[in-house]
Symmetry: C2
Subunit: 427 residues, 2 copies
């Protein structure tokens, strides 16, 4: 392979390269591939690995948690053993946990929805009765977060991501506006950048002094124990940090077992100050008598505690690591020398975030689609689905087996090159 950067090549050389890449692309298209790198879905090997979770509850007696028969109604905020498990994992108090159903996204939506329909603990009125509500969206970020705020007509303000987390100078300036009501954060292995927020950034976040007294820090700790390369990286208890910083009720933290046991059949948790949990429990009690406590108990018995959960995560890493390595190796070999993209090198989470030549992300993904490789839509990682640079691409290598993944990445690299060449030659 010719490893001279495209920027150092002549127009003729680029034209020759384009012809060669186009030919390769046409050949790949002929293969009739059907490959999916669009979402952070665990692969089948990961699902098969945890099947013994369904063996932990057998006799009717097994369904008792302390004095509670988990098969009947009750226990809105979760069963004791599930609270203990999540408090251990998140480093907060059991009283600060609210155990939900199978989807932490649903708990996040509930908090935002309640803010709009009923107001939060420190709201003067429901947000639906206030005009011009805004939310800070560090980007690139998680498309489903942005969809929630967008769905309620909230104006989203993009905050650039740095290598340590959100640009806090911009955040601290923005929160002077009392209409700025909150911020989305994925503090560990952020979606999609895979960045871990630095201690300094987290401290500045905990110490924020927003003009809005009902400012809502949405702390989605989706990948809190999700290393795929190397050892577990500890993270601070944001509930405690906010309390110590004089902002006890500012933060709601979320996590789930979707990528620990089974996506869509796991257990979710919301953690917040006891005052927030009491306030939200009152509102949530109108919509549900209790969540699936059988599944809560199954998880508590299976995962046991944080240490045991981390052992399981090592097994997931053994499956996921090679997939991420396949993507990163291919990018290093096929793309790095050409100077047409840069990307993060995450050690956990579910994504590789790549920035292509500005103006080529959409085209790259359209070419991928045509060749049978589905990726997350271009722009999805930005508020309103609009990447101002048309550059960011989220790669999700977790679902396909390694051999399929290698085929998919091969297609992706060719598409990236073809889109770059089209762009360079059009200038």
């Amino acid at each position: 392979m010719n490893t001279i950067p495209y920027s150092a090549r002549s127009k003729e050389e680029l034209q020759a390269e384009k012809a060669a890449v186009q030919a390769k692309y046409d050949e790949l298209k002929q293969r009739g591939l059907k490959l999916d790198m669009s979402r952070g879905k665990p692969g089948k090997a990961q699902l098969d690995m945890v099947m013994d979770i369904f063996d932990v509850l057998k006799t009717p007696e097994d369904y008792m948690d302390g004095g509670i028969d988990v098969r009947n109604y009750g226990q809105l905020s979760g069963i004791p053993s599930a609270k203990a498990l999540f408090a251990d994992i998140l480093g907060c108090k059991t009283e600060e946990t609210f155990i939900g159903g199978n989807a932490s996204l649903n708990l996040m939506y509930d908090v935002i929805a309640k803010a709009h329909t009923h107001g939060l603990l420190h709201s003067d009125s429901p947000w639906s009765q206030q005009k011009g509500i805004k939310f800070l969206c560090p980007a690139p970020g998680y498309d489903r977060h942005f969809k929630v705020t967008e769905s309620f007509g909230v104006e989203m303000i993009t905050i650039p991501m740095t290598s340590e987390g959100p640009d806090m100078d911009k955040v601290e300036e923005a929160i002077k506006d009392p209409l700025v009501k909150g911020m989305w954060c994925v503090p560990k292995y952020s979606n999609p950048d895979g960045i871990i927020y630095s201690d300094a950034v987290i401290s500045r976040i905990a110490h924020m002094k927003p003009a809005a007294k009902d400012f809502l820090l949405m702390w989605d700790n989706a990948y809190c124990v999700h290393e795929f390369f190397g050892d577990y990286v500890p993270f601070p208890d944001i509930i405690g940090l906010c309390r110590e910083a004089g902002n006890p009720d500012m933060v709601f933290e979320f996590a789930s077992t979707s990528k620990i046991t089974l996506p869509g059949a796991g257990v979710s948790v919301m953690a917040a100050s006891e005052a927030n949990i009491a306030y939200m429990s009152k509102l949530m009690g109108v919509q549900v008598i209790s969540y699936d406590k059988v599944n809560q108990l199954r998880h508590a018995r299976y995962l046991k505690d944080k240490a045991h959960t981390l052992e399981l995560m090592k097994k997931h890493a053994a499956i996921l690591g090679p997939k991420f390595k396949a993507v990163l190796d291919a990018l290093e070999t096929e793309i790095a020398p050409l100077g047409i993209a840069n990307w993060q090198h995450p050690k956990g989470g579910y994504f590789v975030s790549l920035n292509a030549l500005p103006g080529t992300a959409k085209r790259t993904l359209a070419l991928c689609k045509e060749a049978g490789v589905v990726m997350t839509g271009a722009g999805a990682t930005f508020p309103y689905g609009k990447d101002p640079e048309d550059s960011n691409i989220r790669i999700a290598p977790s679902l396909p087996p390694v051999e399929e993944l290698e085929a998919a990445v091969e297609v992706f690299c060719i598409c990236l090159r073809l889109a770059a060449l089209e762009k360079l030659l059009a200038c």
Copy 2:
């Protein structure tokens, strides 16, 4: 026992009776009972009976439903086999079903919440932007329904219940008001009366011509297959009836397996026109990727179809029937001759609805509580928790074993008599 009605007794006779009943009450109080007839919770024998539901899925291959691996993300509106099961039970089309999580109450709340935050399919604007929204509440009714509408600040209008369902003359008059946006219904074994809406009433409901074009008929078919005496009673498909009556998008129907398999660990369903399901799916897709499909498949494999589900309901009836009989027999023997209460004689559902002498319901339940028997709070069956007559009492006999139930009913009958005597002697 003296079986002369209290109304036919002299003051002296009543005073003597009161002294005797008071003595009996004091004796019962000494027993230090702790009995619960407060909520429609299945008893332990019912829970133990369905434990084999956890044996139906074993190998990784078992988790495939058609081509779908139910252990991974996806299938927002439910898996095919769960849709087929509920369509069979409800008599609607599979395309008209949306399978949810463990709680149909949550789906009901979602529909009402979406009406407020986003509007329904035929709304001009979200309800939160309209002032003075009202909802029709046939009463006595289900307290949790009323709590949902109350939580959103909706004005609740009480509609009297007849022996055939809601008083339709009053309903048809009320819906001329365009601010009347909907109605709660429990069409089969209504909570708490245990009434089955007649065909005539159901037809009038389907043919309503509400002034509000986004009128929302909340059809909570919670007890659709829940006979405890006698054979299964068929019910009509309300989705089809509304369609034929020219109101295709007026109704949302709800059901769950909470009282078929496990309360709190079952599967819920929402059924509505395909247009409504498409509209709601778009809104629900913002809050959840998919519900617990493992539990959906477990239920589909375990319950199989309507016929097989009805066989299981016969086994529930064998446990529940004797409990209802114990309550109804005691009332017949101890209370009927005295003329101080009347009650329904349901053949299904989870409650016995009793009307005590006006002005004695609260006092009766306070006496029960003092003697260690917890009942649903007086007034709970009316909007805002206020029974204008202070008369209706909801008895929930399902949770305690028969022997405990007999003890609880004994206390209840004595309290009913004591409260009546206090009232009669105070006049």
